[in-house]
Symmetry: C2
Subunit: 435 residues, 2 copies
Amino acid sequence: MSVIKVALFGLGTIGTGVADILLNRREHICNVTGQDVLLTRICDKNTTSRRDIDIPHGILTDDAELIFNDPEISVGIELIGGIEPARTFVLRLLESGKNVVTANKALLAQHGAELFAVARRCGCTIEFEAAVCGGIPILSSIATSLQANTIQSINAIVNGTSNFILSQMEDGGTSYSDAVKEAQKLGYAEANPAMDVDGTDAVQKLTILAQLGFGAVVDWKNVSRMGIESVDAIDFKFANDLGYRIKLLAVANRSDEGLELHVAPTLVKFDNPLARVHNAFNAIRVVGDYVGPVFFQGLGAGRNPTASAIVGDVIDTILGRSKITFDTLNLWSNDKGVIPIKRTENFYSKSYLRFDAEDRPGVMRDFAAVFGEKNISIASMIQHETNNPDNSSKQKAVIILITHEAREGDLLEAINEVEKLPSIQGKVIRMRVQS
Amino acid sequence: MSVIKVALFGLGTIGTGVADILLNRREHICNVTGQDVLLTRICDKNTTSRRDIDIPHGILTDDAELIFNDPEISVGIELIGGIEPARTFVLRLLESGKNVVTANKALLAQHGAELFAVARRCGCTIEFEAAVCGGIPILSSIATSLQANTIQSINAIVNGTSNFILSQMEDGGTSYSDAVKEAQKLGYAEANPAMDVDGTDAVQKLTILAQLGFGAVVDWKNVSRMGIESVDAIDFKFANDLGYRIKLLAVANRSDEGLELHVAPTLVKFDNPLARVHNAFNAIRVVGDYVGPVFFQGLGAGRNPTASAIVGDVIDTILGRSKITFDTLNLWSNDKGVIPIKRTENFYSKSYLRFDAEDRPGVMRDFAAVFGEKNISIASMIQHETNNPDNSSKQKAVIILITHEAREGDLLEAINEVEKLPSIQGKVIRMRVQS
């Protein structure tokens, strides 16, 4: 039986979970792979904090060179997160002839092309199941089992933090800020949850899914993105009354004019399985032209589900399945036909709009005229009177509109004009509505 | 670019779908695999019926020997179904050095050990994703992505026919026999649906899942099995009132005393994702010790979803992923520790019981005494008066009981005694209740 030496970068929550499996499940992995997988080095800048697993003496180091320079180490697991030093470490691993397993969606979304080109040049592989919906075997399913299909669409809840916050607001009637605090208390949100709630994390994961499922090459910064920061308790009330739940959806949709990509808080019909994905769960609905819809749900984050995906990748790497898949998929290359990306202004979708207006005659006529001019027809409208919070004499009304399918460019122009109307107060809050 | 020659046995619905993809998606498969996959022979005893795809001249034959004897054919796809001649054909393929892809759950459940032993001896592989929940990449997920885990349980809706019938009865208020007719009309049920509705098909699929997920070696005929034939409209009414839906569940559950395996109509709580799987969909919930619960839903049958799985297997076979997985999983061998199978009489579960009783004083005391003696405590009871259908003077009452967790052996003895009570008419209908 051969010994496979593995090294780990980053001994945070996930890294501790991976080390736990590799150290304490060595016999299980040996049974599965027929090889003895040995965690020989863990590199972390913090070598003194106590972790809740026993680390064998002498394997924890803050010197990454010990790993790059050890020719016996054949697999490096990158769990540092973020761009640097993760990018440099992954490049050094590849250039040292070591295969890489990573959970780093930001790194892949931003530097996928560079990393995969270097991996190909060095004859190494990169596995990254844990980068998108950790506990759900979605990347491997698209990369292997569903390969007979042309993927038509992917609709996914990929950010557990946002989903937890939306669930708390919807099911518990919690305010946005209290839901964020609750998520932080339970470890579902970082001290600064900006990247989760503004849709950045979801867009980065969508970029990876778009590459894998559609061969799309896209700069994640250009993907249409709306976060959940403006979602209010009142939106859930109206959405629920209309038969919808609100979810932060990442969508990739193949059309004649190219691939439509966006992340947005979205009204999803009650009977859509995505509507029933609660709290920190992730879920993904893939439609293939032969297989039809396939729905996956699981824990998208957290120590053990993510560690499960990472060790699964390590096993695939050791057994050689990764090499086959890596060579055939040829990800982030320009060798295969690249699908064009549809321009955001040419998206067509239904929208949910909410804004505050003065409650006086003629206001509705004003904004209705703007929408009419821009060819946006209104499917339903609710006007809800509230007291103006500043106690001024003016009565305020909350206006909720659901549009029919409309061109995004026209809609944005209309919103811009509506916001300039003297009778409209503040911003127009927009969400997508799934047909 | 090398040419890979493939042959197909069985040109029924599924076979036609597979031929459709292989013939009309040749360029797509070429892009995916880097190899030219050529369907060179189709063997079917019926060579004259028109099919709804164009079959190239000269490739359809009723002579299987043409395939076994062609050394250029490297992959054989078996879609005949049933035991013979499928078993003989698969053995001949393996002995001719050809890798096999099959959708045949009955064959694997009954002859898995024999076929896999021959495949190992001949250096060939057997792939069978389409044998369980066709459109759901469940077998590959268990065999690869989830390998870091010890699987704790599998709960699954694996028979689309039964699920369609139960959905019709539950959602449409249809009677059992009308639901069966509707399923037949829509092509979801065979002219003789016995193997679907009596749980045989589900037990065979569970046997395969038990081998893959737990290494269990089990004769499918010994697996505890109840079908849906006795489920009545009244059961849905009471189940719904109590917060449950009724699903034909296949369950594999690891416990200290071994693996618990059963197929039964089961009361599933509304908030369980399995409760919301409607019509011909299949679904499966796998719990791994690290990954936690992972839920999959998709089309379990039908031409295109099944063909998608089969061509996915062909691609895995051609690329060599199958060989790696086949060698490491070592299925249906006794090389790895075999998990003991828990005896049915030692299962503990809640049960739903329904029976007809005379509506007179003392009846409840009689059956309550029987359950009490057998240590079975009743969690809830509903008594529902109905008119006796034979218009006799005796009033009939329908009794519905839900038990607390009880030992199956005790429960069966109690049911046996209750059925002998003079005040009880006919059989006691039993379903499982999921805690």
